[in-house]
Amino acid sequence: MSRKRPRLVPETFGSRRRRGPGGAGEEPPGGEAGSVRRALRELGELFPRLLFQDALPPIALKSQVYSLVPDRTAADRQLRELRELGEVRVIQLGFDADAQGIVFTEDFRTKALASCRGRPYEGTVKRFLASVLPACGDLSFHQDQMTQTFGFRDCEITQLVNAGVLTVRDAGSWWLSVPGAGRFVKYFVKGRQAVLGMVRKSKYRELLLSELLARRAPLSVRLGLPYHVHDLIGGQLLDIVPTTSGTLLRLPET
């Protein structure tokens, strides 16, 4: 036990002091949100576009970001900055209060416009994307906000719900949503259960990460094993144990 401990005693008597004065000016401006932006792009690469016939923007989950950026508080802060800059939107995916999807605003806008091309509600959706999205960075919208501030009529709000851009949350409030996200959520929930089941069925309920990725994915895993593994690690549904043979994934005991 004591062999492993020395790494916990950082340089209390030493380089911590040296790091102090130099720490303030280290991060380049705009580099603060850099690691989360890079993580989001990497996760966007993992997203299977062809599965949805390119109709969906690449959706990354917040838990996946935590897996790539281990310091959660810093990741939260950088995400908030990206939201304030208007670069990303956070979507409530609905199956879990914690599971929030993150999309780049540009991708979201192009795909939403593409999905409503030629439909009767195209104009309303265009107006929504142009006026409401830049103005209000929240996850959800209220009745009075939509009618008074942005001037949407009730029938127009119904058109937006039909288009898939809004989802009903409560009487008089709606979540922002990605059109066609229902299929994604279905595949995601099934895939997550399947990957957890793979670890659960293994002897001692643990698997080496390399072995898990090398296995053939069961048919219910449509979004790809690495996508789900990032989500399970970041959402703390699997524990990571560093071993000499690589990273080990273990089901938590509690």
């Binding site: 004591s2 401990r5 916990l8 209390t12 935590y66 310091d71 508080t73 209060a97 509690t254």
Partner: protein, 396 residues
Amino acid sequence: MLGFLEARQVGLDDPGRLRRAEATRRVLKLELNKDRDVERIHGSGVNTLDIEPVEGRYMLSGGSDGIIALYDLENFSRKVHYTCKSICSVGRNHPDVHKYSVETVQWYPHDTGMFTSSSFDKTLKIWDTNTLQPADVFHFEGTVYSHHMSPVATKHCLIAVGTKGPKVQLCDLKSGSCSHILQGHRQEILAVSWSPRYEYILATASADSKVKLWDIRRASGCLITLDQHNGEKSKASSEAANTAHNGRVNGLCFTRDGLHLLTIGTDDRMRLWNSSNGENTLVNYGKVCNESRKGLKFTISHGCSPEFVFVPYGSAIAVYTVYSGELITMLRGHYNTVDCCVFQPNFQELYSGSRDCNILAWVPALREPLPDEDDEAETQKNPAFEDAWSSSDEEG
């Protein structure tokens, strides 16, 4: 280390800096020590521990069997191996022992002549330490989950009591009756804590997911109800408005300077709040498993930089840095769920009580003694580690 000493001597550093650095280094080296244990008195789970704030020498423990025991933590025996003996206890054969499980014990904040204990038998008892007789008993209508007396109060001696009912009761020691009731919660109160900075500020946590800050001088209601979304209504469903957690709020702990408040809830989250304006600082500790159906008692270190919070996490204790949310380590050693832990600030030791009836002492791992420091011929050995065979060739 020598650099720190030199800087302190010359006057470049303030004296507290060396103390903080050494305290932090010791906290990071906490581990179970074979030479230190606490005598086992309880026959069922240990629910609560408290170390007296004056000297840090005596510790009280309350168990699920209703027994309260008092231990001396100080080692005057000059031996390395030391068992913290129980000096006295209120056992099952005591006429005034609590009938059911003792949930909270606390020393009187100003001296060790008195301590208070509250229990599921709906009473709060004030004990005289020297005679071990109850000086006063307060009766309530519901089981008492938690009580706390302000550590800095000079103008009042009120004990805040959280019971099964939604009203927080304040009992006055001077007059011997309940002087105040604070209304505002809707379900049972699981934890109460006075601020260590202002003697009139009280925080209460309830099963209705809300945490309220009160100024007890104010008659009209609570000062602030903590909101985990900081007023942004869009983040959650509308029923979750103004809640501190998405489940029952189990535990409360102020930081030592009273500027921040940590709360822990059954939604497996721990949150850090700014106690002056009730703002959620949004520090993310990750998943902090919490399956306790009653209060969870956790504690914060004192005199280190950064400060650490020790949270019972199943049968281990998780150590996080308070202001950045990083998980430092998990202290494993108990066989069953850990219920409570306390920090001894003078020696940076942690004592934890669990449902396996043990109290474990986590001591900073000292440097090994150099061989020439050992004057005696044989080293003091714990008889449990000595083996019984002889090394001679004859059969023995």
